[in-house]
């Protein structure tokens, strides 16, 4: 028996999967923005806060980085109601994604912060900047500029990992694909279409993040490039 691809039953329900794509975009955009903001705040606490607060941030980062996203998702969706916090599946997905991404982003920004030479801080203080100003202008922005490529790939990985939220019945691309599969019985065709959409989204997101990096850090990214060239030599 020879298998024949039949995409028509899948394309007939393309609307469902496109709605799923919209939800994937919304969840990813929300988690990227929120996760990045939380990561910046945590980095500020690590850099300027008291020592014990820094240890708390480290523990937060290590806990989230060394446990699977699925389990974090289950903790938020099934575990929080036990504590009286009830979230919809989509809210739980956004919260879990934000927590997960914030930990990875904090760790990436840490590498950038450590790469800032001490003399830069001294130069900042000698210009009578306050410690907050030094952190913001001398440490944070150059650090983020340096690690922007790493942050970008983490953002893309988060978008891809959003597929896992279908485990708690969120109707993003994978969840929508599961619905279509159960209606059309065309498994491989359904997942080929879903995969193609993910591929398109990933490439688009990479392009957007690259463009943002170019515009947000025009001067500094040029500097960073020169420095990495120097390191390689």
């Amino acid at each position: 028996m020879k298998f024949q691809f039949q995409f028509e039953p899948v394309f007939a329900q393309l609307g469902i999967i496109l709605q799923g794509a919209l939800l994937t975009i919304e969840l990813s955009a929300g988690a990227i923005v929120l996760g990045f903001v939380v990561a910046v705040l945590l980095s500020a606490v690590r850099a300027m806060g008291p020592r014990w607060a820094g240890w708390l941030v480290d523990a937060y980062v290590e806990l989230l980085r060394n446990t699977p996203f699925v389990v974090q998702l289950f903790m938020v969706f099934f575990g929080l109601p036990e504590l009286g916090i009830r979230l919809s599946a989509t809210q739980a997905a956004l919260l879990a994604m934000t927590l997960n991404l914030s930990a990875y982003a904090t760790e990436i920004i840490r590498a950038g912060v450590e790469s800032i030479h001490h003399s830069q801080l001294e130069a900042g203080y000698s210009l009578a900047l306050t410690s907050r100003q030094v952190f913001q202008h001398v440490v944070l922005v150059p650090a983020v500029a340096k690690v922007w490529p790493a942050l970008s790939s983490q953002f893309v990985l988060m978008m891809l990992a959003s597929s896992i939220t279908s485990f708690i019945s969120v109707q993003e691309i994978s969840g929508a694909a599961a619905v279509i599969e159960s209606r059309s019985f065309r498994s491989i065709e359904t997942y080929l279409v879903a995969t193609a959409i993910y591929l398109g989204l990933a490439l688009a997101l990479k392009l957007i993040l690259f463009t943002i990096g170019r515009f947000a850090f025009p001067r500094v990214s040029g500097l960073a490039r020169v420095q990495t060239k120097g390191e390689a030599a």
Binding site: F69, Q72, V156, L160, S163, S187, I188, Y191, L192, L203
Partner: protein, 216 residues
């Protein structure tokens, strides 16, 4: 209540399956990834282009999709595979793309003069790889490879969708029976942490040791 010793030992038992899956996926993905890394560096444009596409595509789609596609694809090919093997194959594909990219970077990080010196000693490309380049590249690649191993352990947690009972799935099963999500998934998370945290530390340690000379 009702969550006792036998439930916890059930979790640890399924953690064994998670580890076995990790090892098989890492080994099979490592073999493919090694070949892909070397082909990626080929001077033949078609070969390096095709492997670049292979890596880029696999890195731009969710592991879940790789899992579904290879699962249904294998079924279409008429292969009735046990869940462990099906899951290992899909995870192996995912692993191969990431390891290929890590290892390509490691091979490229070996100074170019090493190639020139070894070719001036009339070594063939195979001999160059085997005796000069790879021994140095493997050293460079160790920290990121161990770091990726952590990602792999965590990503094995999605194989429950093809009916494989790993640690995460065992947690779901227990939760369906006892409905104590916080305690059960907390324990599951703790077991994953016990596996992953030492590996993360090892990766960081290797990084420090191998790059001691480059530190300021």
């Amino acid at each position: 209540m009702g969550l006792g010793l036998s439930e916890v030992s059930f979790l640890f038992e399924s953690a064994g399956w998670t580890l076995l899956l990790t090892v098989i996926a890492f080994l099979s993905g490592g073999v493919i990834g090694g070949f892909v890394a070397i082909l990626r560096l080929s001077r033949n444009r078609v070969v390096s282009g095709a492997t670049t596409v292979y890596i880029q595509v696999l890195q731009s789609i969710p592991v879940l999709m790789i899992l579904f596609l290879s699962y249904y694809g294998l079924a279409l090919a008429g292969l009735e595979l046990p869940p462990l093997i099906a899951a290992s194959i899909s995870l192996g594909l995912y692993v191969s793309a990431y390891l290929a990219e890590i290892w390509r970077g490691s091979i490229e990080a070996v100074p170019y003069q090493q190639w020139e010196a070894s070719s001036s000693l009339a070594l063939t490309p195979t001999q160059q790889y085997a005796h000069v380049i790879l021994p140095q590249a493997i050293r460079i690649s160790l920290p990121p490879t161990v770091g990726f191993l952590v990602q792999l352990v965590k990503n094995t947690s999605i194989v429950s969708v093809v009916g494989f009972v790993d640690l995460a799935r065992a947690g779901q099963l227990l939760n369906n029976a006892f409905f104590q999500p916080f305690r059960i998934f907390g324990t599951v998370a703790a077991i994953y942490f016990l596996i992953c945290f030492p590996l993360s530390r090892l990766s960081r340690y290797l990084e420090r040791v191998f790059h001691a000379g480059r530190r300021r």
